[in-house]
């Protein structure tokens, strides 16, 4: 047991050191991520101005979100996306299957999913450490848009939902990557996934805005837990029983994809055949 923990610790440490090599690009990259939000802030500002100009001063909220809530929501989704997005994970797995690199996990006593998870954790830890500065700058500048810190239990639920969103993002993408065992080319499939993810995770707008039947459909798919759910929890749009139910469903999705990715990997390896030296 100790030996295994030691192995995992070593892998994590090496990955962190590897990640720190490329820190130069991070700063600029992270600050630039906030640029599209600038246009969103102005767009929603114009939408609210338009609403008031057309409908008198009565209309001050859309689906329970005020203008300030919208801005706060978009800023919060950058945090939840920072946890749940896994750039290159599914594509990377599929590529390793295609070019045969996956063989090394079959020979070496290292578990593919465990190794990739540790690598992602290392990546994320380094990312948060470096991105803390740009994030702090933007959130301090925009603090006027937030209603203030939520109570401690909501904050705790927010942190838990963020951690779950990391795990959900990881295992969901890993499962998608395993499709590479059955189809050689998965890039177009991944593109379609990315599209749906962008729309139905709540990255584009708060999902409360959706009319029926779409609002029911987004409840049924796990994508909302990647961006919408943590942000809505922080803004206290989801409270009480609904909040705990939400966390339980999110956890259930994590377990589901954990199992699916494991099963898909095992089935896939049985199908897999490698040639050459």
């Amino acid at each position: 047991m100790l030996a295994r923990v030691l192995t995992w610790w070593t892998i994590l440490r090496i990955c962190i050191e590897e990640r720190l090599v490329y820190r130069g690009d991070f700063w600029l990259g992270t600050l630039m991520r906030f640029l599209p939000i600038v246009t969103q802030i102005f767009l929603w500002g114009a939408v609210f101005t338009g609403m008031q100009a057309a409908g008198g001063s009565g209309a001050r909220a859309i689906a329970g979100y005020s203008y300030h809530d919208f801005v706060a929501y978009y800023l919060l989704t950058t945090i939840s996306r920072a946890f749940s997005s896994m750039p290159g994970l599914a594509g990377g797995i599929a590529l390793q299957i295609r070019n045969g690199e996956i063989k090394k996990y079959l020979i070496q006593p290292v578990d593919l999913l465990g190794f990739l998870l540790l690598m992602r954790m290392a990546h994320k830890i380094v990312y948060y450490l470096i991105a803390l500065v740009p994030f702090a700058i933007v959130f301090t500048l925009c603090r006027g848009y937030f209603p203030g810190w939520p109570p401690a239990d909501v904050l705790l639920a927010f942190v838990v939902s963020l951690l779950f969103s990391f795990l959900l993002g990881f295992f969901l993408e890993a499962t998608l990557g395993m499709i590479g065992f059955w189809f050689l080319e998965v890039s177009s499939l991944l593109f379609v996934y990315m599209l749906f993810n962008f729309f139905f995770s709540g990255h584009m707008f708060p999902l409360d805005m959706l009319p029926a039947p779409w609002n029911k459909i987004v409840q049924l798919v796990p994508l909302q837990y990647l961006a919408y759910f943590p942000s809505a929890v922080f803004l206290q749009k989801i409270e009480g029983r609904e909040l705990w139910m939400g966390l339980c469903i999110q956890a259930a999705w994590v377990l589901f994809f954990m199992a699916t990715s494991r099963v898909a990997y095992q089935r896939g390896v049985k199908r897999y055949s490698g040639f050459g030296g």
């Binding site: 102005f42 939408v47 057309a54």
Partner: protein, 295 residues
């Protein structure tokens, strides 16, 4: 005897007269790309569908916005505010321009940075044709045609529904000119960003940068209000003129022409010429600074 020794300079001049037919070369590029796409028809269809889905999702998002509001921005729809159908004319124009840029230039600009990094640009430099032409138009992304179809359909739906709309000859004549100007401005930006990889080596954040910058061009310029908004609007009109790209042609169709926008339309022509000139200059500087990657 004198004639037998051929003067190398006149030789070059003679060859210069036999300029390659750029149009025919371009047609060959387009045909080759289509042949390559048709080799993998399933992939082509999936690409077209996903690109179509992306556009439809965006349209869905704007429909959702107009589910809650009658207009975007304050004031009247003749002035600063955009109502639903005017806004859809704007979005359709934006789709026209972006799909053409994607179709002809995006992949090529992307590959241009790769050529610089890998040293493959050597081969492009050796060809007896203008290098900028060659690297800018080598591949045609036929799948983006799906977006163009959506854009036409959206325009056909929205334009007749714009309140008080009557099509004038001037609009018919000037709209294509300004759409072309918008394409030229975006092309200039793309090729400049790609050429920067001669100096920077890496280009990943440049591409993100392109995406982030062009998001500013996606909405009517009136939404940038207030002090910071005003500054953004000024900078993206007069320094990096991407707000002109969609705003000028879209406004030309969707709204009555005011004096302020007539000036902006005049400025747009100057900005287009300046952008093209600047991009040509940067491109040639990049070539002059290019050191082949081999040995």
């Amino acid at each position: 005897m004198q004639n037998a020794i051929r003067n190398p300079q006149s030789e070059i001049r003679n060859r210069a007269i036999h300029r390659p037919s750029y149009f025919r070369v371009f047609l060959t590029f387009a045909r080759n790309s289509l042949v390559r796409d048709m080799l993998f028809p399933a992939n082509f269809i999936i690409e077209s569908i996903s690109s179509f889905c992306w556009v439809m999702m965006n349209v869905g998002f704007y429909l959702l916005i107009f589910h809650y509001t009658a207009q975007i921005g304050g004031g009247t729809s003749d002035g600063a505010a955009w109502d639903k159908f005017q806004f859809f004319v704007f979005i359709a124009t934006s789709m026209f321009i972006n799909s053409v840029v994607q179709m002809f230039f995006m992949t090529n600009a992307d590959e241009f940075s790769d050529l610089i990094r890998t040293g493959g640009l050597d081969f492009a430099l050796l060809k007896p044709i203008d290098t900028q032409f060659l690297v800018s138009l080598r591949k045609v992304e036929w799948a983006s045609l799906a977006n163009l179809v959506v854009a036409i359909a959206l325009m056909g739906y929205a334009l007749p529904r714009v309140e008080g709309f009557t099509l004038t000859v001037w609009q018919v004549l000037l709209y294509p000119v300004y759409v072309a100007a918008g394409i030229a401005i975006l092309y200039s930006l793309t090729i400049v960003l790609a050429a920067l990889s001669v100096w920077l080596g890496r280009n990943s954040s440049i591409y993100d940068f392109w995406f982030y910058i062009t998001t500013f061009s996606r909405y009517p310029m009136e939404i940038y209000s207030g002090r910071i908004g005003g500054l953004l609007r000024w900078g993206f009109t007069f320094i990096v003129p991407i707000l002109i790209v969609v705003n000028v042609p879209a406004r030309m169709l969707a709204k009555p022409l005011t004096r302020e926008y007539a000036y902006l339309a005049l400025f747009a022509l100057a900005a287009t010429a300046a952008s093209l000139r600047a991009s040509r200059w940067v491109f040639q500087r990049a070539l002059a600074n290019y050191r082949s990657a081999s040995s």
